[in-house]
């Protein structure tokens, strides 16, 4: 071991610690190398086998045709703008509605019992209904009543469905966060003279919400993909546009083009979520994994 291999050239570093750090460093490099070689090997062999299989040209033509990708992409991209719009709008409402539901469910005040019961029933019922059924009920069913003042816009009902459905899940995420804040925090806040509502607002929620950001982002990723449900109400968003192309050409590349757009937004967000989780773990346990 040489001095150069040590990660920190800190004169205060004890010889034992320096040796340990250098060892860890070496181990890390070793696992990295093994990981890289095994990845290249496994995927290399797999790719070779696939590309040389007899059916590969048909598969490539049907799923990975660059021509069809180029031809279908512009339409799908403009359709995708609709997906982005509805999942962004929906997410804002989901975060607000879910937080209200979670706070109601976590409240202790006896006077709020009816609200608490209603919130619990809401979460139970909505989580039990498949989103697609809810969408058909609201998107086709409610406008069919022709009630005065009730909108019949497809986007309105798609967003409403997503907000109703996702807020039930997200409320549970918030509630888990609220439950994870130790009782002593509330006790301390109350002993300082804060009311129960104030301690929820200023002591519990700030800690709770910070802890559940990763699972919240996780639900946001799911929501982005469910924005494709908008297609079922007739709107030409990314999935529907790709479906129209496939129906005309029988080439499935257009579906991949749509999937590619969804991945373009979901994968960075998933990576970011992982990063947040890692950072949180480092902060709370003091170790890196």
């Amino acid at each position: 071991m040489t001095e150069a291999e040590a990660p920190h050239r800190d004169p205060d570093l004890s010889p034992g610690r320096a040796r340990r750090l250098a060892y860890q460093n070496r181990q890390r490099r070793r696992s990295l190398l093994i990981g890289a070689v095994s990845t290249v090997l496994v995927f290399g062999v797999v790719i070779l086998v696939v590309v040389n299989s007899p059916g590969w040209p048909t598969v490539r033509e049907s799923f990975f045709s660059w021509e069809d990708f180029k031809a279908s992409f512009p339409e799908i991209l403009t359709g995708f703008a609709r997906n982005v719009r509805i999942f962004l709008i929906a997410e804002v409402f989901i975060l607000i509605v879910a937080l209200i539901l979670a706070v109601i469910r976590s409240s202790r005040a006896p006077v709020l019992t009816p609200l608490r019961l209603a919130a619990t029933a809401y979460v139970d019922i909505i989580r039990g209904i498949p989103t697609i059924i809810l969408l058909f009920l609201l998107g086709f069913g409610v406008p069919a009543l022709r009630l005065q003042g009730v909108p019949n816009s497809q986007e309105f009902w798609a967003i409403t469905t997503l907000v109703i459905s996702y807020s039930a899940y997200v409320a549970e995420v918030y509630r888990a966060g609220i439950d994870s804040v130790h009782e002593s925090q509330t006790s301390a806040a109350r002993s300082l003279g804060l009311s129960s509502a104030q301690s929820m607002r200023w002591v519990v929620l700030p800690q709770a919400v910070r802890r559940v950001i990763p699972p919240l982002l996780n639900d946001f990723v799911a929501l982005q993909k469910d924005s494709a449900l908008l297609a079922l109400l007739g709107v030409q968003e990314a999935f529907r546009r790709s479906q129209i192309y496939v129906a005309e050409t029988f080439n499935f590349t257009a579906y991949l083009a749509a999937a590619f757009l969804f991945m373009l937004v979901t994968i960075p967000l998933a990576r970011f979520t992982d990063y947040l989780i890692r950072r949180q773990r480092e902060r709370t346990t003091g170790t890196s994994v």
């Binding site: 086709f140 409610v142 497809q154």
Partner: protein
């Protein structure tokens, strides 16, 4: 874990790759019942969508009843080929799957599929068994009901099922200013129309008639559109290269289509005509 998922995904693709190599065939075939190559030996397997709608099929009893134009045609063809009614089985095939490329689990599919060049690249069609016009459904008390030309239709919100010639008709012939709404099934399209989310729904003429007469109160067939060039025809769908097609065509030639049409579609001729060409 991640690697095993990747491996499974790749294996699935490999399987797909191998499967894609099979198929083909053809040549001179006898049309004796015992010589026919069938999906399931001894029975004629016919595909159509579920639910199946009048006037093509019976909504309640399904295609097995022989009720409705297409059910009647299918049994007549089966009879010509030498099958008794008990030797016919029906399988559910979603509309857009019927003419997608690949192996089929039916001997033929009969589901108001229009014969078109694009579809012909993926599957084979029988000769046409019905000349079809596209038609526009609207509410009789709405503004669109007074339209008398293609130009007057351009400003409305129109809808149709995905992958249909009805949708092609909207996009290619009417070319509306508002983007058409596109649904997975005609049932969804009808629900949206009923909910007032559409000004007009494009369907084939007999279906439009049935919807206006039975299903959606207050709706009417605003117009039918005879195609400008060659007339659009419904054909039965076969897996590409299926030798059974020639035998079905032979059988179809012996079926009195006129009479079956009289029986099931007699009331669909009266509708204002809008010329397209």
């Amino acid at each position: 874990m991640k690697k095993s998922i990747a491996l499974i995904a790749v294996l699935a693709m490999l399987l797909a790759a191998c499967a894609a190599e099979e198929g083909g065939g053809g040549g001179d075939v006898s049309c004796e019942k015992d010589d026919l190559t069938l999906v399931q030996e001894g029975v004629l397997t016919i595909g159509t969508d579920e639910p199946s709608f009048p006037p093509w099929f019976d909504f309640e009893g399904g295609p097995e009843t022989g009720t409705g134009f297409e059910s009647a045609v299918a049994y007549a063809v089966a009879g010509e080929l030498g099958f008794t009614e008990d030797e016919v089985t029906w399988v559910v095939v979603p509309f857009n799957n019927a003419f997608a490329p690949g192996e089929k689990d039916f001997d033929f599919d009969i589901n108001q599929v229009s014969i078109s060049e694009e579809r012909e690249e993926a599957v084979d069609f029988s000769d046409g068994y019905y000349d079809v016009n596209q038609a526009l459904l609207g509410f009789s008390d709405s503004e669109i009901a007074s339209a008398t030309s293609i130009d007057e239709l351009k400003s409305y919100r129109l809808g149709a099922q995905v992958g249909t010639t009805s949708l092609d008709f909207i996009t290619d012939v009417i070319q509306p200013e508002t983007e058409p709404l596109v649904y997975d099934t005609n049932a969804d399209a009808k629900a949206a129309f009923d909910a007032g989310q559409l000004d007009g729904l494009v369907l084939d003429l007999p279906t439009a008639f049935f919807v206006s007469a039975v299903e959606i109160e207050g709706s009417t067939v605003i117009a039918q559109f005879p195609s400008a060039g060659e007339s659009e025809q419904f054909g039965m769908v076969f897996e590409e290269g299926n030798p059974l097609r020639d035998c079905v065509n032979e059988a179809l030639a012996n079926v009195d289509l006129e009479a079956i049409q009289q029986e099931w579609l007699s009331d669909v001729v009266e509708a204002p005509i809008i010329e397209t060409g």
